[in-house]
Assembly symmetry: C2
DNA sequence: CTCATTATCAACCATATGGTTGAGTATACC
DNA sequence: GGTATACTCAACCATATGGTTGATAATGAG
């Protein structure tokens, strides 16, 4: 659990860039070669390759060499871990809000 | 919607740091002064204040001056936006997986 | 009033990050 | 074979980031 957290910030950091967010969205539709990902981006292929590297290192995707192309595919684990964390803490937080509501209501009962 | 995305990466970037993740978790339990947040952290108060600033700018918390203390409280919007995005794309992605399973199964039927 | 507490600000420093260019490797095509 | 395509790598550059120190301001306590 604590081990999970160690990699969580690298996942969030990887998502913390508009270019990479777009890539994830594109990859959600279907697998993409590096050139595919580069197409809408006005950036060098090398630059895109580095971004892919960041996402790969964060565990968000896998790269597979297929001929001279590199095919990128979204990988579930990291994104699900992020989902769990965010889910957990938004819930945590809304529970606090509920508790606050309760307290206020009971306060009003005095 | 597109407007939402503009701030999404700043939210993720704000979450992309272990120190700030811890702060969020601490704030999920209850509101905290800057000193409270600094207590477990082995870091200068100024450093903590900067981290709080990042989270504040990302819309993840609010800072309210109460006497000489600054009380930080988690703010829902940003975290919920992050939740929605992650939720959406993990679902998107798992739908793709389901589709792939289908395709494989039907392929096997040949 | 005086002094400690709480916090912010500005300046600074080292390192990380996002991007480029240029070279190099491997595959595909003619 | 030769040439174009698809990428990756290393070096480099500018800026962002995470942190510190030192000064300052404002509030709280004696």
């Amino acid at each position: 659990m604590v081990d999970n957290e160690r990699q969580l910030d690298s996942v969030f950091r990887a998502l913390g860039d508009p270019t990479r967010l777009r890539m994830i969205e594109q990859l959600a539709r279907s697998d993409q070669t590096v050139s595919d990902l580069a197409a809408p981006l006005d950036m060098t292929l090398a630059g895109v390759s580095k971004h892919v590297g960041v996402l790969e290192q964060a565990g968000l995707l896998t790269r597979e060499k297929r001929g001279r192309e590199s095919v990128c595919a979204l990988k579930p684990d990291a994104l699900l871990a992020a989902r769990d964390w965010v889910e957990r803490y938004s819930v945590f937080w809304s529970q606090r809000l509920d508790a606050l509501d309760q307290a206020l209501k009971e306060d009003g009962d005095d």
